[in-house]
C-alpha cells in the first residue's frame, strides 16, 4: 500500500437517521474515514454499532424511507455519491464498487442459475455479448476456486454449499474488476474451516487483483489476520482508528481495550475468568451529546457526560475519540 496515495474512497461527516414510529434513530453519527488504493480496512463493532448501515448508505443501498442520509460527503473518484444522479450511482454500484453480503443464501436469487447472476453485471455494465460474458463467468468461478466451472454455470444456488455460495457472491462482486470491494460480514455465516478457505481466497485475490477492501466483521480474530488498518465503531461513531498491529498492541479507547480482553483465543494463556463489559449497547434515540460508551466505561469522567469526544491523533495513522489517556490513566492532553 503506497503511503500518501490519494484515497479511492473518502467519507466525510456521514450522518444517517432512521425514521421509526418511536422517533428517530441516529444510526450513524458524523462518520469520517478514507480508503487508500489496495488497502484492506477492517470495520469492527457490535450489532447496532452502525457498521453495516454506514457502508450501505455509501452506495445508496438503504431504503428511504425509513433511512435518511442527513449530512456528509462520499467522494469516490472525485464524485460525491450522495448527490450524484441515480444513473451515475447505478453505473458505479456493482461495477466499480462491489458488495458481498453476509448471508449468501438470501443474497442470491434462488430462481436464476448462478451463471445468469454472474453474467448480469457483465452484460449490464460492460455490455459484453452472452458468449463473452459466459467465458468471463467461467474465468471468475475458476478464480474463486469453484471446480468444474463451465458445468456449474447452469446450477442454481441451492445446489451449492454455504462456502461455495459465498465464493459465487465474491465472483459476482469481482465481475467488473471493482476498485473497491465492500464485504459485510462475509464469513460470519460460515464454519471455521470454510471461513479459513474464504480468508485464504481473499488474501490470494488481493495479491492478484489489488483492489481496496472494506471488511465489516465483529470477529477480532479475522481482523487480526487480514486487515491493514482497523476502524472500531460504537454507537454509530468511529471511536478508534489505527493500523492493525498498533490497535492490538496499543489500544487506546476503553471500548477497544475491553473488547480485546473479552475475546478468548485458542492459543496462549487461558484466563481463569472472562473479562466482561457490563451493561448494554446504547439505544440511539437522540443525536449524541455525550460519549456513547460512558455508561459501560470504567474510566468515565464528569466531562464524558457533557461533551462528545472528537477524534484526536495519537500516533501515526492512529486516532481515538476519548478524553481518557491510558498512558497516564488520566485526562488526555488535547
Amino acid at each position: 500500500m503506497p503511503d500518501g496515495a490519494l484515497p479511492v474512497l473518502d467519507v466525510k461527516g456521514l450522518k444517517v437517521v432512521f425514521k421509526t414510529r418511536g422517533g428517530e434513530v441516529h444510526a450513524v453519527n458524523s462518520v469520517s474515514f478514507d480508503l487508500k488504493p489496495g488497502e484492506l480496512l477492517g470495520v469492527v463493532g457490535e450489532s447496532g454499532s452502525g457498521k453495516s448501515v454506514t457502508m450501505m448508505s455509501l452506495i445508496g443501498l438503504l431504503p428511504s424511507p425509513p433511512a435518511d442520509v442527513r449530512e456528509g460527503q462520499v467522494l469516490f473518484d472525485g464524485q460525491d455519491l450522495l448527490t450524484c444522479t441515480p444513473d451515475t450511482l447505478r453505473s458505479i454500484r456493482g461495477a466499480r464498487i462491489g458488495f458481498i453480503f453476509q448471508d449468501p443464501m438470501t443474497s442470491l436469487n434462488p430462481v436464476f442459475n448462478v451463471g445468469f447472476q454472474i453474467m448480469e453485471p457483465l452484460r449490464k455494465h460492460m455490455k459484453l455479448s452472452k458468449a463473452k460474458a459466459a467465458d468471463r463467468a467461467v474465468e471468475l468461478l475458476e478464480l474463486v476456486g469453484i471446480p468444474d466451472a463451465r458445468r456449474r454455470l447452469d446450477d442454481y444456488p441451492h445446489q451449492f454449499s454455504g462456502g461455495m455460495r459465498q465464493r459465487v457472491m465474491i465472483a459476482i462482486a469481482l465481475a467488473c474488476d471493482p476498485q473497491v470491494l465492500i464485504a459485510d460480514e462475509p464469513t460470519t455465516a460460515l464454519d471455521v474451516t470454510i471461513q479459513a478457505q474464504i480468508l485464504e481466497l481473499v488474501r490470494d485475490l488481493r495479491r492478484k487483483l489489488g483492489m481496496a477492501i472494506v471488511w465489516i466483521t465483529h470477529d477480532l480474530g479475522v481482523i487480526a489476520g487480514i486487515a491493514d488498518r482497523v476502524m472500531v465503531m460504537y454507537g454509530g461513531q468511529v471511536v478508534e482508528q489505527s493500523p492493525v498491529k498498533d490497535l492490538f498492541r496499543n489500544p487506546q479507547h476503553p471500548y477497544t481495550r475491553a473488547l480485546l480482553k473479552t475475546v478468548p483465543g485458542v492459543l496462549g494463556e487461558r484466563p481463569e475468568k472472562l473479562n466482561v463489559i457490563e451493561g448494554q449497547p446504547p439505544i440511539l434515540m437522540a443525536a449524541p451529546s455525550a460519549c456513547a460508551f460512558r455508561d459501560r466505561c470504567a474510566f468515565a469522567m464528569p466531562r464524558c457526560a457533557k461533551e462528545n469526544p472528537a477524534r484526536v491523533q495519537v500516533g501515526a495513522g492512529h486516532d481515538v475519540a476519548c478524553f481518557w489517556d491510558p498512558a497516564t490513566n488520566g485526562p488526555r492532553n488535547a
Partner: protein, 359 residues
Amino acid sequence: MGRAMLDATNTQKTLVTVRGLKMYFPIHSGFLRRHTGDVKAVDGVSFDIYEGETLGLVGESGCGKSTCGRALIRLYEVTDGVVTINGKEIAKANPQDLRAMRPTMQMVFQDPQASLNPRMTLASIIGEPLIEHTKMTKAERQARIYELMDAVGLNRSFVNRYPHEFSGGQRQRIGIARALALNPKFIVCDEPIAALDVSIQAQVVNLLEELQARLGLTYLFISHDLSMVRHIADRVAVMYLGKVVELGPRDAIFADPLHPYTEALLSAVPEPDPSLENTRERIILKGDVPSPANPPKGCNFCTRCPKVMEMCRSIEPTYREVQPGRFLACHLYDQNNTSAGSTSGIEASQKHVQQGELQ
C-alpha cells in the same frame, strides 16, 4: 469397547453415560413415499460426562452436535443406543418414567428469541416447569421465581414483562432461569451464546460458570466457537459427520490435537493477535463436509484429510482410548501401522499407544 476400560482412568462419578447412540432421520422419496435411506445425524457415539464437569461438544454445522444433545435428553426418539443419566436409562424409557426424569435434565437453547413464548410473561415462562412438575402453592412459586431471577441477574421488577421487552443477553438469562427452575443436575447448553454479541457472550458464559460452581451443575456445552469452549469446558469432544472423532481433557486437546480434523479445526480459528496470526501455520481443508445421508466408505474424514492413507478409504477406524483419558478414532494411531509416512506425529502416537497398553 467395554465400559470398564472407559472408566478405568477416572475416579470421578459418572453422571451421564452414552453408549452407541444413533439418531437416524428417515428419507422418504418417490410416489409411495417409501423409506429409501437415512440421514445419519448421529452415528454411534459413546462418551461419559462426569458429575460437576463441563463437556464441550464442538464441530461444524451439520456434524450432528445439536442432534446429539437433543437425543441425549430424549427430545427425539433415538434410533439405537443406551443413555443413562444419574443411573437411570432414558433412551428407551416409557413416557411416564421419562416425565418423572425430566426435572433432572434441562436444556438452554440457541436462539432465546425463538425458545421463549412471546405471549407469556417472564413469570409464567419461569413458573411453567414449577406448575408442571411440583405441587408448590402460588406463593411458594412466586418466591422461587424471584429466587431464580436473582440467581441469573434479572431485576425483580421485570417479572411481568414479555420476552420482546428484553435484549438478547437478558432473554438468554430467562432461558437459563427456566432451565434452573427444577434444580436439575444436568443441563444441555445448545449454542447458548451463538446469537449474542461478543461483549454479551462473556457475561452469559461467566453466569453459566458461576451457577455451575454454586449449584454443582453438569453441562454439555455445545458450540462451534472453539475459543469459548476452551474457556468453559473441562473436557472436549470433537464431532465430525455424526461421529466423535476425538475426546480428551481440554488442555491436551488444544495443546496437542491428535486427530487431523481437530488439528485443522484449531488452526482455522483466527487468533485475535496479528503477530501470532501472521506466523501461524494454517491447515486449510479442501472441500466441504460430505452429506450425512451418504457418508464416505471407511473413515468419514477421508475425503478431506490431509494425512489420508489407503486404508482410511476402506476400513472405518475404531474409537478407542489411545492415552489415558484421550479417545480417538484414527488409523494414524493404530499400533501396527507401519505403511504410513514417517511423520513425527505417528512416532509420538506409537509411544502413546504403548503407554496405553501398559495400563
